[in-house]
Assembly symmetry: C2
Homo-oligomer: 323 residues x 2
């Protein structure tokens, strides 16, 4: 059976934190003494989170990568994952094999074993639920941002959303975009986000980050979560928002995707101003670009400052600009 095949494939290389993997009523893990346990679950639905454009191997990779990013955003280290899958009867075996091959690639790269799951029929559409377990000595929540803290992000923003949008454009006609290497880069960013585990763990472990989240809904939306939980406002400088060369070439000065596009899975965090040098050291040590894009102020919501110094406000409730 498929479960037996999957089980045998994953049995060999169980790391020391796993006492018992796939195949019993529950997996059994050995938590490290004195650490916090982290757990998060994500449900991916065909037609909502992915479609036939995403090959099954890429889907497996991404489903695990975005869960690793949740652990990174807490400052933790991933330890194990479970996957529950509902498949329509007509799904080919090849699809399942490729999906698990995608899991396996990321599992090996990040040393996070599959320890359990479920496999069921679906009347229509593919559903994939991944649960990730991690641990941390010290976690960073969303609610610790303080007035005066710097607002920082890793990597570049908007690549995933722009990649997805341009890919849809490229498909709709005999578009010159199809052969565009910038689009290939952005699409890859959409398919294979980089969980910022090392940076997240160091930012948490050294007590640097006062609040942290990963950008899944878009910069403005996820920053709004931090601000609301922390009871503060932020001033963000649009020209400081890091955009990739591919983004700039395909999009010119338009920063809409960088502001509101989701699925970049970069870290967004706040840090006391006097500790900026330590953040720079972590950036160098982990070879991760980290950019200061603004700071925390009293009040609520986001003040967006453009190059000319003009200011617009973003409602605390979400993405819509006004004023």
């Amino acid at each position: 059976s498929t479960i037996e095949t999957i089980r045998r494939r994953w049995e060999g290389a169980l790391p020391p934190q796993v006492v018992l993997g796939i195949g019993d009523d529950a997996a059994v893990l050995r938590p490290a003494a004195g650490r916090r346990l982290l757990v998060s679950t994500d449900l991916l639905t065909e037609g909502v989170h992915f479609d036939a454009r995403v090959p099954p191997r890429a889907l497996g990779r991404k489903a695990l990568l975005v869960n690793l990013s949740d652990i990174a955003a807490m400052g933790g280290i991933p330890r194990a994952f479970l996957s529950a899958l509902a498949l329509p009867r007509e799904t080919e075996t090849h699809f399942v094999e490729e999906l698990y091959a995608g899991f396996e690639e990321i599992s090996r790269a990040y040393r996070v074993p599959l320890v359990g799951g479920d496999l069921s029929a679906s009347p229509a559409g593919i559903f994939l639920c991944v649960t990730i377990l991690g641990e941390a000595r010290r976690v960073v929540e969303r609610r610790g941002a303080a007035v005066g803290d710097l607002v920082c992000v890793t990597g570049t923003l908007g690549d995933a959303a722009l990649g997805r949008r341009k890919m849809l454009e490229a498909e709709s006609e005999a578009s010159p975009l199809r052969e565009n290497p910038d689009l290939a880069f952005l699409w890859e960013r959409h398919l294979s986000p980089t969980p910022r585990l090392e940076a997240g763990n160091l930012l948490a472990g050294e007590g640097l980050a006062s609040a942290m989240i990963d950008i899944s809904d878009g910069l403005l939306g996820d920053l709004a979560h931090i601000l609301k939980e922390s009871g503060v406002a932020a001033r963000i400088f649009r020209e400081r928002i890091p955009r990739s060369p591919a983004y700039r070439r395909l999009c010119g000065g338009d920063d809409h995707d960088a502001l509101t596009g989701g699925e970049d899975y970069e870290l967004l965090f706040t840090v006391p101003r006097q500790r900026q040098a330590e953040v720079d050291a972590i950036a160098r040590r982990t070879r991760t670009d980290i950019t200061v894009i603004g700071w925390i102020e009293r009040g609520e919501g986001i003040r967006l400052v453009d190059e000319a110094g003009g200011e617009s406000r973003v409602a605390p409730s979400g993405y819509r600009h006004f004023g």
Copy 2:
């Protein structure tokens, strides 16, 4: 939003093992020192695992109860759960409220808080993925059954499957079954299985059970899992298989549902013969019926012995009788 409502509802009463519940990138738990961590995930699909016959509150209850049963089958104590839900756009708010009310009933009764989850759209059908976390000083796996051990079960078998079958019959016509209190009892057994947490935990903690599983697929199917993992055979006496008075009245001598019907979520375990008195003591202490239905032998597969002493064999691979 729905998530905010759910979050507020669950925020108040977090037990000491929960550092951070719903609303961040991951939940944060404080594992007890020296315990094993247990984790299991189940995906329930509309049209496969449930249908409109099951009211949403009962669905919420059952989804959590069957996960508690997985922890019972390992000998553990449940500590927290997560729920991921995909809903078609036309789903009424009332459905979600009732589903969560069902979670809440069981959550309070068993002191297992909801610490996280996901809520997403579904193109068609309702999908519900529950992940349970538990802990145990000592776990019981499926693979420890030894030649000479007794085979025991808690409660009565076949009620859930017979209840479901008779309910379908009762619906299909103006059936006298509709008013039958025995059917009401069996249907309740189908909707609200009893996770045998206290018995499971004592059987594990005192090192009594050598192998344990909960009966989700049916006695023969789940016993086959224990036998295969342990490399042994079993002799089972059909007249010893415990059946409820309601089952006997509705089904006479037919033991098909008791042998192969799933979803009873009773514990099936093996125990060294010389420790039977300790098992009886646990039965009394936890007010759980525990019945010896046979013993473990050399070989493979199941030998079913009927009242007249006739013997039939069940293939090690599954339910099909032959010989």
